[in-house]
Amino acid sequence: MSTTPTRPSGGSTYEEVQSSAEFTELRRRFRRFVFPMTALFLAWYFLYVILAAYATDFMATKVLGNINVGIIFGLLQFVSTFAITMIYARWADREFDPTAERLRDHIEAGEVQ
């Protein structure tokens, strides 16, 4: 491996950080946010794809003038993508970053217990 890893300068190693309570909590919170969110948007996307392929009559039902269920569901995919993007960015900025940054500063100063 040619990349010279930056070793934590203090006594603690990455393995010690990995098993620290603070890091385990950070990892748990990250996974508890991104995994269910990924499952949610993938399920919604594939529901839409399968409806488009096998429920064409339902998708063709007119709702507003010439706008049918298919167009509305398609536009809702855009809405949900934008919404998840904003929710994630907000969560990451407010909930995740402060802990991650504190931990990083501790690691780089070698102070993780």
Binding site: S2, T3, I71
Partner: protein, 546 residues
């Protein structure tokens, strides 16, 4: 002359001299910027990662520039203009895919890698075999994508620049290739990024202008636009409903689902997109990049919905299919219908700028992977200084440019859509499973990575070779719709055109199987380092000050 008259009879294509002039202005401006950028493209970090000095907003716009290829702009608008709703389905897959990159890949990758995808995949596994595999799949994806773009450039020439005949197209492909080599060699990642940013802004502005124009004619009523579009289509209201293109039978529906799977999982495995995350100073900026990219790309695809139905209404599917360039000509013809010669000239120039910028982005990713992964790490075993590596990368860019020019000339009459679909299928099969396993699965090991990368790569290409895209697909008029135009040659046995539904699950399965059958012990130290770095950003590569 005869061909010229034939073209003139079928479609009035505006003023080629004006189209070329507007495009030339773009080339001159971007070349000046690239020359300025060349002053800071010497070290490896400068050349591959633009000193990691772009901010999230700039990089997000550049990512959009990289992603919104001619296939997106001309292809999706054209697909909607001809098939209606099914073209819209494409754009949704391309957009939702970005959530995979946002939630699971971008930030963690930024924190653990330096320049290439292989940096991350080989982080805690055996370096040489994994890096080689990742570089091979990077080069394959880039090559398929590059061919599609170059072939698209050739096909567009007919319509946009009034260049007739094979020689004219070949010359245009060569010019695109040479310009791209200059951008990449001289400007490095910094120059390429600015080209992407300028192109993205032009593309969005052009599409926005046409969208407002089309909607204004309908009093900003989407329902009225849809109604008028359907009234001008031979298939009538079916263009407002899904499955006009894919709904022929069960096989074509499963093919559609296979495509949908490749689109949504392919994006986060595209090497030229992943490499862009290294041009920002931190994972927080990588996150901001993706947020910006999602907004820009999403809004652009909403524009293409209006443009596609607008072209259906104002130009009509029959006239589009009769024009040189067929489906791809929908957006340019719409521009001509709306704003005459001048708007066509602008849109034509934007389309060329699009191809040029995407091709440059692919070239830098491919040349970085060859120089950094294959040459420096595998051949020279890491015993190479960074300056020499950059020199190799520059030379590789020339080779890739030459290959792209030859490939583009060879492929210019081919159906290019399948090349893009193939690139996405390979990226989703060969790259994404290994990226996710290495980031999230402690036990993952070298054999798992190799089985997954090679298994995904080989199965995707193998299935494509024996699919109707290569041989044996015959249209209703008896003409071949496959790559091999001779209808007597038919060796296809795999019914789907897109291999994703088989190759993606297979690659995930092989990654698991390879891992559990291998007795290689987990490198606990390296895994700890990778996991801690990926989440906290400790020890991540920093921006370089000049």
């Amino acid at each position: 002359m005869k061909a010229f008259l034939a073209a003139a009879a079928t479609e009035d294509i505006g003023e080629p001299a004006l189209n070329i002039a507007i495009f030339a202005v773009f080339v001159v401006i971007t070349l000046l910027i690239v020359l300025r950028a060349s002053r800071t493209s010497r070290t490896a970090t400068q050349y591959y990662a633009a000193s990691r000095a772009f901010d999230g907003r700039q990089n997000g716009v550049a990512i959009s520039g990289d992603y919104l290829s001619a296939a997106s702009f001309l292809g999706i608008a054209g697909a909607i203009a001809i098939y209606g709703y099914d073209g819209f389905l494409y754009s949704i897959g391309f957009l939702v895919a970005w959530l995979v990159a946002l939630l699971l890949v971008a930030e963690l990758l930024r924190n653990t890698g330096r320049f290439t995808l292989a940096d991350v995949l080989s982080f805690r596994l055996r370096n040489t075999p994994v890096r080689t595999a990742a570089a091979i799949s990077t080069l394959c994806v880039s090559f398929f994508y590059l061919l599609a773009q170059m072939a698209g450039a050739g096909g567009l020439v007919n319509l946009l620049l009034g260049v007739e005949g094979s020689t004219g197209q070949n010359i245009t492909i060569a010019i695109v290739g040479i310009l791209m080599i200059v951008y990449v060699m001289v400007g490095g990642m910094k120059g390429t990024t600015w080209v992407q940013i300028i192109k993205a802004i032009l593309l969005i502005a052009g599409a926005a202008l046409m969208t407002v124009w089309v909607l204004a004619q309908e009093g900003f009523n989407l329902s009225a636009l849809l109604g008028d579009a359907a009234a001008n289509a031979p298939k009538g209201e079916a263009v407002l409903e899904p499955m006009l293109q894919y709904g022929l039978n069960d096989t074509s529906k499963i093919n559609f689902i296979s495509l949908a799977l490749a689109l949504v999982l392919g994006t986060a495995g595209l090497p030229h997109v992943l490499m862009r995350f290294y041009t920002v100073p931190s994972s927080k900026e990588a996150r901001r990049s993706v947020v910006w990219a999602i907004w820009v790309i999403g809004i652009f695809y909403l524009f293409t919905l209006v443009l596609g139905y607008g072209a259906m209404k104002l130009v009509g599917p029959e006239r589009i299919l009769a024009a040189p360039g067929k489906q791809n000509s929908a957006a340019p013809l719409l521009a001509y219908e709306l704003g005459g010669t001048l708007l066509l000239g602008i849109i034509a120039a934007v389309a060329f700028a699009t191809i040029l910028a995407v091709v440059a982005g692919l070239t830098i990713a491919a040349s970085a992977s060859f120089a950094h992964d294959v040459y420096s790490h595998v051949i020279k075993k890491g015993q190479m200084n960074a300056d020499d590596e950059v020199r190799v990368a520059r030379r590789t860019a020339i080779v890739i440019g030459a290959v792209a020019i030859l490939g583009g000339i060879f492929a210019k009459d081919q159906n290019i859509a399948f090349l893009v679909a193939l690139a996405f299928a390979v990226a989703a099969s060969a790259n994404l499973p290994t990226i996710l396993y290495s980031l999230f699965w402690r036990r993952f090991n070298t054999r798992g990575a190799l089985w997954s990368i090679y298994g995904g790569l080989i199965s995707a290409i193998f299935l494509i070779v024996f699919s109707p895209t290569v041989s044996g697909k015959v249209g209703p008029d008896g003409a071949s719709l496959s790559m091999i135009k001779d209808t007597s040659i038919d060796f296809h046995w795999f019914p789907l055109e897109n291999p994703g539904i088989i190759s993606i699950p297979l690659a995930f399965f092989l990654g698991w199987l390879g891992t559990v059958t291998s007795r290689e012990p987990v490198d606990a130290t390296r895994f700890a380092e990778m996991e801690v770095r990926s989440l906290t950003g400790a020890g991540a590569e920093k921006a370089v000050q000049h």
